[in-house]
């Protein structure tokens, strides 16, 4: 199937001032590659602070002013330039953000979904979208502070699907929800994908991601370290990278074993594999290698010099 979105060797840097004067390029995402196909949910899983949200902003062309990116993002086979992203966002590409603070606190919900436009059946579209998620017409007249947590998420989803987008990016859309509400939201995502949209689901919760994802990309310190089919997560032996394996082992039903240490901050590891410090299978060359390339392995991809072998 032809992918709707292809990201190749994407890097995002922040310009920082070191001790006041010296400019420094701080890499937050390094050499990220990802493919999203229509009708599929691709989950990007990583710890907080690993640059996941920036990935969403890069695709939408709304990175903060003090950052810049390298690499290529292709949408529907054509390069997604800043200008093209500007035309497509909100129409073909839409974002489902984290929570209620992504709504203007002083504007009624309906007015925000309609984006200030009138005519063209926008009123009807807005009503339809809300209805689809079980929200009545009265929701349009509410202010964000009047919505409950679950309602706010549904409003955000409704706002993303008013224009029937082909690519939907959901950025941590479930924290703060109970399991039932979260799985209902995820059910909506699955529906959207089954209706033909490509879905990028950004989360820190591997367990949650596995319930709906077709493919999973694991983030570590701003890099994709493994990309695999969700089915590979059935058993530990299907996995390729020691970090993914550690994540798997940390899941409650797989032993609940925590991983010692913490992720390095982006930009602090200049040489070698960033996971080397935490890795239990580290070998001498792991900290010496100039670059650890992402390579194909058993139908997925892994960024490791000595990947886990399938026994």
């Amino acid at each position: 199937m032809k992918p709707i979105l292809e990201i190749e060797h994407l890097s995002i840097y922040f310009t920082q001032y070191d001790r006041g004067i010296r400019k420094r390029q701080l890499p937050v995402i390094r050499d990220l590659s990802l493919k999203i196909c229509p009708g599929q949910v691709t989950a990007v899983v990583g710890a907080s602070g690993s640059g996941k949200s920036l990935l969403a902003h890069a695709i939408l062309g709304i990175l903060p002013y003090n950052s810049h990116m390298d690499g290529v993002i292709r949408y529907d086979g054509e390069e997604l330039t800043g200008k093209r992203a500007e035309q497509l966002r909100g129409r073909e590409i839409s974002l489902i953000p984290q929570g209620v603070n992504y709504l203007d606190p002083l504007m009624k919900v309906g007015a925000q979904i309609r984006k200030g436009r009138k005519g063209g059946g926008i009123r009807e579209k807005c009503r339809q979208a809300l209805k689809r998620y079980g929200l009545g017409e009265e929701t349009e007249e509410m202010f964000p502070f009047e919505l409950s947590g679950g309602m706010a998420r549904r409003v955000l989803i409704a706002s993303a699907v008013t224009e029937s987008p082909r690519l939907i990016i959901a950025d941590e859309p479930t924290p703060g929800l109970d399991v039932k509400a979260a799985s209902r939201i995820l059910g909506h995502f699955r529906e959207l994908a089954d209706a033909g949209a490509g879905m990028l689901f950004i989360t820190h919760d591997l367990e949650l991601a596995l319930t709906i994802a077709d493919r999973v990309a694991v983030f570590y310190a701003g890099e994709t370290i493994e990309e695999a089919a969700a089915a590979d997560f059935q058993e530990a032996r299907g996995l390729r990278h020691p970090f993914t394996k550690a994540l798997w082992n940390a899941m409650p039903e797989h032993g609940f074993i925590p991983l010692k240490g913490a992720q390095p901050y982006p930009g602090t590891v200049r040489k070698g594999c960033p996971f080397a410090e935490q890795c239990d299978r580290r070998r001498p060359d792991c900290k010496e290698a100039e670059e650890v390339p992402l390579r194909e392995l058993r139908g997925g991809r892994v960024r490791c010099l000595h990947p886990e072998a399938a026994e």
Partner: protein, 330 residues
């Protein structure tokens, strides 16, 4: 209803306490003043040629021989009966003088207040929306320059340029010199008010613009603006629909709080332009040890400032949907 009454009672009590405090502090400052009322108002030479009884009479008039506590309590009792006393310098009831002077100043204060508010808000929004680009740098530079310039110095500068060199506007006063009060036209009054009002507006803009800019920068970095961008809203739509809306609430507070700054500024500016307004009367009263007039002016201006803040609080209830919806429910 009960809630509103409580609100009003609380505000009134607060206002009474504030006015009491302000009047007490101004009274104490006046007591601590090194100026001797007799020497300043009568003069050393005239005093020397007066008899002991005449001097004693003057001392009684200026209240020099009365103990301070007795003076303040006497003034306070009068105020509680609705009598602000009589001015020692002008020999007229304090209220009459304040009314007259306020009428002269109100044109000045109001134009300065409105112009600085609208202009400050507009510049602040533009600077915040274009953060880091040249409009922002220009506006910020202007604001920093103006806020580090003393108002009286700016007044003198404008006076030099527009009244002395270019001769477009009169040098001072509120009406032309030597003209019959009946034949003074509105144009005369306006042309005399332009320079002082301009000075007050220019200095007032800086503060409001800088504060609005900060708020606008916060709004532009907020999650909801990010999401508005992601939804495909244009920059124009974001600034007009989300920016203005969210800057408006703090803007109201800022605008009404600036009343105090405008009144404070008018004291200096009216002095430079010899504009016979409330500010000038305050200076005269202070230097001439005219206790009743000075206390009257401080109390009345404090009440105006307090009233401004009260209006801001009430407007909040109208503008902020959170307060509005709560009021509608309860």
């Amino acid at each position: 209803m009960k809630h509103r009454l409580q609100f009003a009672a609380k505000k009134l009590l607060r206002m009474a306490l504030l006015l009491l405090g302000v009047s007490l502090v101004s009274f104490l400052l006046m007591c601590a003043s090194p100026l001797d009322p007799l020497q300043t108002n009568v003069g050393q030479v005239a005093l020397g040629s007066m008899s002991q009884e005449q001097v004693a009479q003057l001392e009684a008039y200026w209240g020099v021989d009365t103990p301070p506590v007795q003076r303040y309590v006497g003034w306070l009792l009068g105020v509680l009966h609705g009598d602000l006393g009589s001015s020692l310098l002008y020999r007229q009831p304090v209220l009459a003088i304040i009314g007259q002077r306020l009428a002269g100043s109100v044109l000045l204060l109001l134009t300065a207040w409105i112009i600085s508010g609208i202009l400050g808000m507009t510049l602040g929004v533009i600077a915040g929306a274009c953060r880091g680009q040249w409009p922002d740098k220009l506006i910020r530079g202007y604001c920093l320059l103006i806020s580090s310039t003393p108002a009286f110095w700016l007044a003198i500068l404008l006076l030099l340029i527009f009244a002395v060199w270019l001769g477009w506007l009169p040098v001072g006063l509120s009406v032309p010199i030597g003209m019959d009060a009946a034949s003074v036209t509105l144009t005369d009054r306006l042309s005399h008010a332009v320079l002082p009002a301009l000075t007050l507006s220019i200095t007032g803009v800086a503060n409001i613009a800088l504060h609005t800019r900060e708020k606008m920068v916060d709004v532009m970095e907020s999650d909801y603006v990010l999401f508005a961008k992601a939804r495909g809203e244009s920059m124009r739509s974001i600034v007009l629909r989300h920016g203005l809306r969210n800057v408006l609430l703090p803007g109201i507070t800022l605008q009404f709080a600036s009343i105090s700054e405008i009144i404070g500024g008018s004291v200096l500016v009216e002095q430079v332009f010899s504009y016979p307004g409330l500010g000038q009367a305050a200076v005269t009263a202070g230097l001439g040890s005219d206790l009743p007039l000075l206390l009257g002016i401080t109390v009345i201006t404090s009440a105006i400032v307090f009233g401004g803040n009260l209006i801001a609080d009430l407007l909040y209830g109208v503008v902020d949907p959170k307060i509005r919806r709560r009021a509608a429910k309860g």
